[in-house]
């Protein structure tokens, strides 16, 4: 039998004074995680308060209820173990709506769109390999530029070389879409340093490439693909000791960056031996064109529909991940069998998270260690 929730015990108290409420929120903060239940709290005067999120399956906005006679608002939801959810609170006072991070929650996640509060369910832990480790030697991250004819611009990118980089050795190459965002919001340099130090992944060279006009260039855009395959790749091959292609060439990206990876590899089959795609925007329609994603998704749907009609083996191996709380879970699940039937070896993982950078950060170990495994299997100290 489940015990009574803290918020219900509070509700039943006869002495529900402001002081008691203050003690309650000081003790518990927000959200309160009790087993597989999460209770969100807000304290203040308002006409309505909502939890705003993008979790598929939960109502959005999620209305909070006021505890009678107090200024405390609460809403309780089921939250399976291991879940991680990003949210904000929305308050209505008269005609005025205001959205902000949960003031009773110190845990915040950052993204290019701003920050959000984080609700970590029972059992969720930030992986220790995402945090700086003083034992791990630091790789080098430097800014580079390349004149791109395909994109008609001087394209900036960040280049990572691992600690103890040695020109007599050979390294696999990873090209990352939304590269600087992966460094800033998914701690990817720290992750690379740590996982290489732990022998989980092979020391590798990584090009973190920022987008130009992201919504135009990422969904199946010929100049973008030409830039990666015919300009950036040859330049890196000439400058660095890389392992033999295509096994040592990997494209990576999340969301639209995922579709950019797939469409680039599709346009240049056999050039990239592997792909690492996270919450890829693999949206398609089975009939008609009504995909519901808006005009930016039109080229995505056109590309994915075309691929589904005639699947090809454009790469050898693909690591795919997707959060089960995001709308893209269904198309990602559907595409796994399509890629596999085309002969691509696919490792697919789902997790209880959403369409966000912390989710993508948390899957880096699984993806990178599968595609470019470290020497751990050879090391017996």
């Amino acid at each position: 039998m489940r015990g009574k929730l803290a918020i219900n015990r509070l509700r039943e108290r006869p002495d529900l004074s402001a002081e008691v409420v203050t003690q309650f929120v000081t003790k518990y903060a927000s959200p309160i995680i009790e087993g597989q239940r999460a209770t969100f709290l807000f304290r203040g005067e308002a006409d309505e308060v909502f939890v705003r999120h993008r979790v598929v399956g939960l109502p959005d906005p999620l209305p909070m209820k006021r505890l009678t006679g107090t200024d405390l608002w609460a809403a309780t939801v089921d939250l399976p173990a291991g879940s991680r959810v990003e949210y904000q609170l929305e308050v209505r006072r008269g005609e005025h709506y205001e959205r902000f991070n949960d003031p009773l929650n110190q845990r915040v996640a950052h993204s290019p769109m701003g920050s959000s509060s984080v609700c970590a369910g029972q059992g969720y832990q930030v992986p220790d390999w995402t945090q700086p480790d003083p034992e791990a030697r630091s790789g080098e991250l430097v800014e580079r530029h390349i004149k791109s004819k395909a994109l008609r611009r001087d394209q900036r990118y960040l280049l990572y070389t691992p600690a103890r980089f040695n020109t007599v050795l050979r390294y696999p190459l990873l090209i990352v879409h939304d590269g600087p965002e992966y460094v800033q919001f998914a701690a990817m340099k720290t992750v690379l340093d740590n996982l290489i130090h732990r022998l989980d992944i092979a020391p590798m060279i990584v090009a973190f490439v920022p987008p130009g006009d992201r919504l135009r260039e990422y969904p199946n855009h010929a100049p973008h693909a030409r830039f990666l395959a015919r300009e950036l790749l040859p330049e890196l091959e000439a400058a660095y000791p890389l392992v033999e292609p295509p096994a040592g060439r990997c494209l990576m990206g999340s969301s639209f960056g995922g579709i950019a990876s797939v469409s680039t590899a599709y346009r240049y089959p056999g050039v990239f031996g592997s792909l690492l795609i996270q919450s890829a925007s693999l949206v398609f329609t089975d009939i008609g064109q009504d995909h519901g994603g808006g005009p930016y998704f039109d080229p995505v749907v056109k590309f994915v529909n075309k691929y589904r009609a005639k699947p090809t083996r454009f790469t050898d191996r693909m690591y795919m991940s997707c959060g089960i709380y995001e709308p893209l879970i269904t198309p990602n699940r559907s595409m796994v069998s399509v890629f596999r039937e085309a002969g691509i070896t696919v490792k697919y993982e789902e997790n209880r998270d959403g369409h966000n950078w912390d989710n993508w950060r948390d899957r880096l170990q699984a993806g990178l260690s599968w595609l470019y495994p470290g020497p751990q299997r050879y090391v017996y100290e």
Binding site: I201, S369, P373, V379, Y380
Partner: protein, 312 residues
């Protein structure tokens, strides 16, 4: 020919007592190339060997050859590519063959009396024979690659390599024992081949972890708890063969699913007639002139249970 095989030395040091048990005096040749960039960080190791250590610095020598002999460096790059390709193909074949073994294993009746006489039991034997055939194929192909590498890399004609080989002979000539610590087995086997290291039979050897693997006839790689999840145990190379009829598993408790007797039993059956021997912390196995392990060695049986010879 005496070889003392030890468990990992990080937490339970047995190397000092093992060396003293040899009752020798004089320098001890040490090959810790598996430590790679840390090869020269030998303060603790030297102390554990009563400050008798003579490091052969084979990893340093390897990088020296790569720097000074460009033809060799090019051949090594090509070799690594072919070796990775072969390993990739081996893993594909192995994964499919092993999934067949597990699928058949699930069909074997649970009751022991019925199991022995079941068609599934015989089918599993045949499925494991298929895995052994893949293992044998891989080892043959790997040896072929090594031979090609020796020719293409000019290993027997390179002046740099010859110089190092000569210096090494001078360096270990008067050593009364050899020590092979753990580390990266791939690197260790590469340098043993490159510098044609062979330990005189009459000179005793102390070896642990990767070093112990190098002393056997067949080297198996294994890790059930790696970041990419459990992977099938795979053969990697032929070792020096000082210890016979054994496949060793250092750090077994940390790296093998010891609570899965079905999987362990398949492992033991796959490597018959060799014994699968577990090398955990504190293990000391004194192998005599016959090259066979003593009874105290912990072996995995075909039933997946771990026993010593004394239990039998």
């Amino acid at each position: 020919m005496r070889t003392i095989i030890l468990g990992p030395q990080r937490f339970t040091v047995r190397a000092t007592s093992a060396l003293r048990s040899l009752e020798t005096s004089g320098p001890v040749a040490v090959i810790n190339a598996g430590w790679e960039e840390r090869e020269d960080d030998v303060g603790e190791l030297d102390a554990a060997l009563d400050h008798r250590m003579r490091g052969l610095r084979l990893y340093y020598r390897l990088t020296d050859v790569l720097r000074k002999d460009p033809d060799f460096a090019v051949a090594v790059t090509a070799f690594r590519g072919r070796q990775d390709e072969l390993s990739g193909l081996y893993r594909i074949r192995l994964a499919h063959a092993m999934s067949g073994v597990y699928a058949v294993q699930r069909q074997i009746p649970l009751h022991p009396a019925r199991a022995r006489h079941s068609a599934a039991y015989r089918a599993m034997g045949d499925a494991i024979a298929g895995v052994r055939a893949i293992d044998d194929w891989y080892l043959r192909e790997a040896q072929r690659l090594y031979q090609e590498m020796e020719v293409e890399g000019g290993v027997t004609t390179s002046e740099v390599i010859a110089w190092h080989r000569h210096e090494l002979r001078e360096l270990h000539n008067d050593c009364v024992a050899w020590v092979f610590p753990g580390g990266n087995i791939r690197t260790l086997m590469s340098v043993l081949r490159l510098f044609a290291i062979s330990v005189p039979p009459e000179v005793p050897v102390i070896a642990w972890s990767a070093g112990a693997m190098a002393m056997t006839e067949r080297i198996a790689l294994f890790h059930d708890f790696g970041p990419e999840g459990a992977t099938e145990t795979e053969l990697f190379d032929r070792g020096l063969g000082r210890v016979r009829d054994v496949v060793v598993f250092p750090h077994a408790r940390r790296r093998l699913k010891m609570d899965d007797p079905g999987r362990l039993g398949i492992l033991a059956t796959r490597f018959e007639s060799a014994d699968c021997v577990l090398l955990d912390d504190g293990v000391v196995l004194d192998v005599g002139a016959d090259g066979l392990l003593p009874d105290v060695a912990r072996r995995v049986g075909a039933d997946g249970l771990v026993r010593t010879g004394e239990d039998l």
